[in-house]
């Protein structure tokens, strides 16, 4: 236990020290890593633990982002408060989609495509709402004021992203250790058996969906006040939903470290393909990224973290 504490303190100190020593490019990279690890962790609750793969988390992300921005620009409500309104709204919408899907026991691919369709509907609506800026998108005026979630310098965003990630990981940690978490895993492994044993699968899937959607919406607010620009074809696209789900899957879905490892790995792979192949023809760097993704799936079909754990166990000859 004390060794664990030591490792934890060491990692903590490193994370505090790191942003002050690296260039702003690397700061940005780290912020993106934490931020996607956060979103991955939120996705992980529904997609990883409960095994309900969502390809529409961009919807909740966008609901969070737009809600806090609209509340801020039109009603002067600080995004620090507005983000919780966004989270509530996202959780409410998730219950609508969840009701539609889970009531009929839509599973697997049906659920994936339902979530995708829901996000697409929202994207098309957002494109036609003047309030949200339509095709031009919504620009947010930058007025540095910490109480309005607007900061000068990347350091602030670094620590907020890190804090977000820590909170989401703590939530997942608590879920993992609770009965609720055990129910979710039971649903993932064998929904019929869970049902037969008296687990109210509908209720727990809905609950997982609400928590996952709410957390994702908070990430949307962070994005809005980090980028200061929202466009439906970016934040609500299927590409974005893929970006959210891809990291926990690569890292190992249904594990607490999976989204974090996956986020680091993909950020590095993305940066690698961008910096070495961006000079080539347009698209080359993405081709390389796609190939790397395929390679990861073929060689680590259980995800990075579970595979690492397996190697570690074999190397040490005991159950770690």
């Amino acid at each position: 236990m004390s060794r664990r504490l030591g490792v934890g303190l060491g990692v903590g100190a490193l994370l505090v020290w790191l942003p002050f020593t690296v260039s702003s490019v690397w700061q940005n990279l780290l912020i993106t890593t934490f931020y996607f690890a956060y979103l991955g962790q939120a996705w992980n609750i529904l997609g990883g633990y409960a095994g309900q793969l969502s390809l529409g988390h961009a919807a909740f992300f966008a609901i969070g982002a737009y809600t806090s921005v609209v509340l801020h620009t039109h009603f002067g409500i600080s995004p620090w408060l507005g983000m919780f309104a966004g989270a509530l709204l996202a959780a409410a919408v998730s219950q609508g989609i969840g009701y539609l899907g889970f009531r009929f026991g839509l599973r697997g691919f049906y659920f994936i495509l339902l979530t995708l369709a829901a996000a697409e509907i929202l994207r098309l609506i957002a494109l036609h709402l003047p309030l949200l800026g339509g095709y031009t998108g919504l620009f947010i005026n930058f007025t540095p004021n910490p109480w309005q979630f607007q900061f000068k310098g990347k350091i602030w965003y670094y620590f907020i992203a890190l804090g977000f990630l820590a909170v989401a990981s703590a939530v997942v940690w608590l879920i993992e250790r609770s009965k609720f978490g055990a129910y979710l895993v039971a649903i993932r492994e064998d929904e019929d058996a869970a049902e037969a044993l008296g687990v109210d699968t509908f209720r727990y899937k809905m609950l997982a969906y609400a928590v996952s959607a709410g957390l994702t919406a908070l990430g949307g607010t962070f994005y809005a006040y980090y980028q200061f620009y929202l466009q439906p074809n970016t934040v609500l696209s299927m590409h974005h939903s893929v970006d959210i789900m891809i990291r926990p899957i690569v890292g190992g879905s249904g594990t607490i470290l999976g989204p974090i490892l996956g986020s680091f790995l993909l950020e590095l792979l993305g940066e690698f393909s961008r910096s070495y192949f961006a000079e080539g023809a347009a698209g080359l760097s993405v081709v390389i990224y796609g190939v790397l993704l395929i390679v990861v799936v073929l060689f680590l079909p259980r995800g990075v973290y579970p595979t690492l754990l397996g190697w570690l166990r074999r190397a040490t000859g005991r159950r770690a």
């Binding site: 049906y110 098309l124 879905s253 993405v286």
Partner: protein, 287 residues
């Protein structure tokens, strides 16, 4: 009234191509239980191949269908043999991830080869129309519809009347049973993926005289195909066919009733309605 009749006709004619692309997706899913996230990108490759044959050899896109179909067949078969086949036992999310990787590669290879500008195949009869009572019919749209129908019929006969087709259907209905009677399942999978890809590749060629396209057009086709197969019932080929026509019509009517840029929303709303009242899809049996 004529406006709606016009939209209806246009919708049915466009729906034919939708049907063909969705049938390809449904076939792949029905046999392998794998969702082809690169489906739309395969279609775009069919489009670019037709475009390339048209600009270099002057080959009419309708005549290049056998060529594009064959090339995309090989592409699909190679993807199945080289990649999909290795992860059939992996969790769903890994299969999805793999196909997304494939989609990224295909889309951006097209970007590297043909650039980001919208391309169009300008056939000489591209703008010819004729009147049917009060309704204008685009000639290319009609030809596209007729050929899509013909290709779907060929696929139907292939699946019904040939041994290979029967093997595919057997593997789709009951994989264990097919294995027990000695079906070479890897061969069937490769064939099914290839045929599914060829369908969507041919659909791409058929689409070229109708609308301009870019390397990133694939995503919309992928999403539309998904939508159609759920509406029709996943793995059900007839359902995919009917669903394609239905989505074509609903988009076309949506463009008239709402604003044109909102037309796709009608298809998605249709999907939600189907999920509410008939979650197994229009023609789907038990899930």
């Amino acid at each position: 009234m004529a406006l709606y009749a016009q939209a209806l006709i246009n919708g049915i004619l466009t729906g034919g191509v939708y049907s063909l692309m969705a049938v390809g997706l449904s076939l792949i899913f029905g046999v392998m239980r794998v969702i082809n996230f690169a489906h739309g990108d395969m279609m775009v490759w069919g489009m670019y191949l037709s475009f390339w044959l048209f600009t270099t050899l002057g080959l009419d896109p309708y005549l290049s269908i056998p060529l594009t179909g064959a090339v995309v067949f090989l592409l699909g078969a190679a993807i199945q043999r080289g990649l999909v086949n290795r992860i059939l036992a992996a969790p769903h999310e890994m299969q999805i991830l793999l196909m997304m990787g494939v989609a990224l590669v295909l889309e951006n290879l097209a970007l590297m080869v043909w650039g980001p500008d919208p391309r169009r195949v300008n056939v000489s009869y591209g703008l010819s129309t004729f009147w049917m009572g009060p309704i204008v019919v685009d000639l290319p749209r009609l030809v596209t519809f007729a050929l899509a129908l013909a290709l779907a019929l060929v696929l139907y006969l292939f699946l019904r009347r040939t041994d290979l087709g029967r093997m595919i259907r057997a593997a789709s209905d009951n994989q264990t049973g097919a294995l027990l009677v000695g079906t070479d399942i890897t061969k069937v999978f490769t064939l099914a993926f290839g045929v599914g890809a060829a369908c969507v590749g041919a659909a791409g060629s058929l689409m070229t005289p109708l609308l301009p396209f870019t390397p990133s057009s694939g995503l919309l086709f992928t999403v539309t195909s998904f939508n159609i197969v759920i509406i029709g019932g996943m793995g059900n080929l007839l359902g995919a066919f009917v669903g394609g026509l239905l989505v074509g019509v609903s988009e076309s009517l949506g463009a008239v009733l709402l604003v044109p840029s909102l037309k796709e929303i009608v298809g998605f709303v249709l999907l939600v309605v189907i999920l509410l009242f008939r979650p197994q899809g229009l023609l789907g049996g038990r899930r």
